[in-house]
Symmetry: D2
């Protein structure tokens, strides 16, 4: 099968570079353009590399940054676009790409709440991909935008999906311990966060609830119907490089004992696993039974096979006291909660014949 | 008024040294002995000083460590003992002091759950001091033990007391971001917590609920009656020196809007304020209205006057959505949640004629 | 004696706020204007406060930020200006103030290398103040600029001054461990420095040598003559809030044993001490004999009396092996190596009749 | 060729686990026993795993810890022992293994300064392996001990070897920025090092000079002859997980310009490269020309092929001013400066027919 020509937008940033890393040697997509702002045009990707945990793939050592030009991408025959653009510029550029006939898989929030654009987490809502049909009607050349979710809700939505389905839980309270990489670059000034916790992340709590309702909701009769799930979040930034940890509480929950909950989580599997998508983790939710896990520094790269590292969510310290359920959840914020989310979305779309 | 002769137990540790710092020049107590384990005997306090934020008081530059010997303390006429002992040794030594006629104010958990020993936070439960009467009956010479609470519940209990009283709230979910100093010395290995969060603190979650029920409960007919308050906690350690931050959630709460809640918190005042106890903060609960406070590095020393620095709890980001209430709370874990708690207890006991 | 009316430039930044903190209640200077860029005009100082270790002085709780307008300052009768401006804007604004008749004490590097502007560290080169006479000749109304030195060389120059004088040492190699506050705000992105060391600080190594030669040199016949001292520096940024630590090496040094060197350092005293300037530390160089000091978190505020906290340099681990001398040195980079340096300069100038 | 049966001592510690990781699937050695203290006996390696950057190899998921029993190892036919024991217990146990006929490759300092035991860094002193002949004479059954060097001197010695050889340099001053993993586990208390630098590491500076002289010296006429190289070190601990950074100074050096020095370093290659030893980096010294490298978080795993990750030393910021040479150097302290050093030693010994 021929690989689709692909481009990465926002290649000088951390999400763009995760895309570059995850798409190297990808069986479905062949990245032919690494785009960023004019300021970076002509520079080499290796000189802008910001990821500390993974090296620039050897094959990209001479890759150069292009300016961001949707028309030029169309001319070069690019069919698939991965967008790691900042939200404030993403809206316009992604529209131009989609209107130019390209399939855009975006990490930006710009299009997430649109009525014909899915926020997709394939294990949860692969059926939402149908919204693309309606979206295409308004796009001139059959292109479309599919977004991944905010990093914090991605982990939470994935982790609670089996609980919502099995036990009918709806009211989740969650406190987050969010990593620095979630703020992009330059992000949080070091003097603010050194030996400190910052109990605020702009719009994050609102996004978690609004996106959560859409993600966990249904798509029927050509529209999205919100889930009754209600997420009450308090978000804080901590001095961690990668990996958002979340403390989740459900009161008055009709759940089995901790081991029963663990079993429900571990057994969860969905369409990406059925299709053996390249970046799909064999087990999307990993349960740790040690008393002090998951930890961001130890567990954020959970997931197998190799292409799915960082794509599994890890849950630990499941406690059921009477009717009250508590656990900790960890998600890699720039892999599953960022670039990896969109890569998985693109893989699903590809297999569904949309790219 | 003559100052009471006092001794500090555990002077080589961080709580013991907070006692030393807070009791320097105290109007009620005159520290005549700095005790620690035999290993430290004869060393100078200045050579063991562990507090980074405050200096050894000038007057203590030559102070020497004594061995821990309750009988010797009694012989020297010590009437008041401040105990920063580790819980595993505190039980026995504190009993010896109390049985020897001394008033013991302890930070250790050893005696907290005993039926005639109060866990006192004077703004909340000054009336619990009456339990001392019953305790004295079983102590040979009129001594007694009064404990302060676990550091995390101290902040939470103080912060929720006005909400429990005004709005009848009972079910609190709380996620903590706890400072390293709470683990004592040497405490958490640096390699474990560098750029990481550890989602477990031994017995902390259980203590928060059990102690919270006793603290917020009543003392009547010579016994403690638990409060119906129920605290569902998930505790984690973060790379912060001092100051436990807590994300608090109350679902289905019949509360006014955020400003109404703020006002209830700010107006809270109690017996220590009426008595103008030296370490009592003029305003026990400080509300911050900025969108990113409280922060451990900026706010953990809240409280005035000077002697009450670190004795106020700071609450911020109060949000009321429908019936759901959220806020962040910060307490200095080794001052209000440690040594300072016991100093305030001793001040109250002194003014109530018990020392 | 009447206090001189003073203004602070750069009040929204960390150096400007150190000025505000150090000048509160100052016996010589009365700050009547807190200036910053137009962007901050009209905001309250308390809402921009960036210092974590000291609180906004109570008297400044309502202080408002003014725009930076040298003419307006002149009209208000401001005689003394403390500049914490970024170097790229400092040159012009400081010139306008000096040309308008004001005495400018600046932390910026803009004017440091000018032939009639002293880089002053009063314990080292109080005589350089005479250069002001020549500078005044070219300024219309008798104003002038005096600068403090780069933060890293300030500590080093002060620490080596007695060694240069007593033993004729000239060749110093030094590796620095520099604090985040030295980079201003927002400064270093947290993701870059978390669990990391960055072995480069723009122009710092060159400044250390060039400024060091001028500071330790002579002022004679109306010009500065460089010292033969040669400083070979390697500068690195570490995850520390305040306090630059420096590892200093001198090879082939004709020095006494470690205790002899310590004694030479401890005995050092100079003109600020003779004059008992308010911010002059009684002992400018403190020697620690423990095997693991000085440490930034424990020792950066060294110095007494209260107004001189952070004004002393601390030296430790002095080792003499054969002819080779090594030690560690610590300086508070935003106090002695920043705002405090200029405050001391202004105090000297005031006492010398220049303000 | 049959793989030699091997055992790892100290398997519960960080060095022992680096051995386990590096020896998985090794072409020369087949690890049949993971030994640790009695306390860990019977526990699974996966439950004691301490490395955050690499996962337990899949093949070891059920590996169990054995007690440390040299006789039992001999009975099982173990021929090669890798020792990650703490130095205080290493001496005796390693002697028992060597006396029992095993080839011991040790990271401990216990045997380093013995007159017939080499401290080997194969790129520098592969000829020192001959000392083993003499050592075998006193060992009953032909066993021997070969040690790797202290982590800090390992990096430095490797980095300066070409400079010593090419330019006759002898006097090196060096300040270190050492990672937490160098202190073992539990190592440095977090409260001591959070936002701090500790300017002291027990015996490290002395070891660097003494070991450096032996490593860089000659072995002739059956004895070690010290090199005239003199290393004046000041060692400090910083909040970094892995990777010792070192600022190196050479005064009055007769060297070419920076690019000439870089070229000398880059071209360096030695016996391990000739033999293509499995863990030998193709290029032992990597030179970075960016202005802010090497950085521990980005560069500590330098080296290729895959088995040699962390085995190359990275040098950057080479500056030559007049006769003065400065640069920064980075070494992975638990790979090249720890377990990897001994693995390379064992590989060389194997190829030289000694195992």
């Amino acid at each position: 099968m021929t690989r689709r020509k692909a481009a990465i937008l926002g290649s000088s940033g951390m999400i763009g570079q995760r895309f570059a890393h995850m798409l190297e040697g990808h069986p479905y997509f062949d990245v032919v353009a690494y785009c960023a702002s004019d300021r970076s045009e002509g520079r080499r990707l290796r000189d802008l590399w910001k990821l500390a945990d993974v090296e620039l793939p050897a094959g990209l050592s001479d890759a150069e940054i292009d300016a961001t030009n949707p028309e030029a991408l169309a001319r070069e025959g690019v069919e698939v676009v991965f967008s790691g653009l900042p939200s404030e510029v993403a809206g316009k550029v992604e529209d131009e790409c989609a209107d130019g006939g390209m399939a855009v898989f975006s990490n930006a929030s710009a299009h997430r709440m649109e009525p014909d654009t899915p926020i997709m987490i394939p294990e949860i809502n692969h059926g939402h991909l149908r919204a693309v049909e309606r979206q295409r009607e308004r796009r001139a050349k059959g292109g479309f935008v599919v977004t991944n979710a905010n990093c914090s809700i991605t982990g939470l939505a994935l982790g609670i999906k089996p609980l919502v389905d099995s036990y009918g839980l709806t009211d989740f309270s969650v406190a987050t311990y969010q990593a620095l990489s979630g703020a992009g670059y330059p992000g949080v000034p070091s003097i603010d966060v050194l030996g400190n916790v910052i109990p605020h992340i702009q719009s994050e709590e609102e996004k978690m609830n609004a996106e959560g309702k859409k993600i966990l909701g249904r798509y029927e009769e050509d529209r999205f119907v919100d889930s009754p799930v209600n997420i009450l979040a308090s978000c804080a930034r901590v001095g961690v490089r990668d990996g958002h940890l979340e403390a989740v509480f459900v009161r008055r929950a009709d759940v089995p004992d901790a081991e029963g909950v663990a079993s429900t989580l571990e057994r969860f599997s969905s369409r990406p696993q059925e299709l053996s998508l390249p970046s799909a983790p064999v087990q999307p939710i990993i349960v740790r039974r040690e008393q002090n896990r998951p930890q961001p520094a130890l567990d954020c790269n959970a997931g197998s096979p190799e292409r799915a590292k960082g794509m599994a969510v890890t849950i630990g310290r499941i406690r059921v006291d009477g009717e009250d359920l508590r656990f900790f959840l960890l998600v890699h914020n720039t892999i599953r909660g960022g670039a990896g989310g969109s890569v998985l979305n693109a893989e699903l779309a590809h297999r569904e014949g949309l790219t």
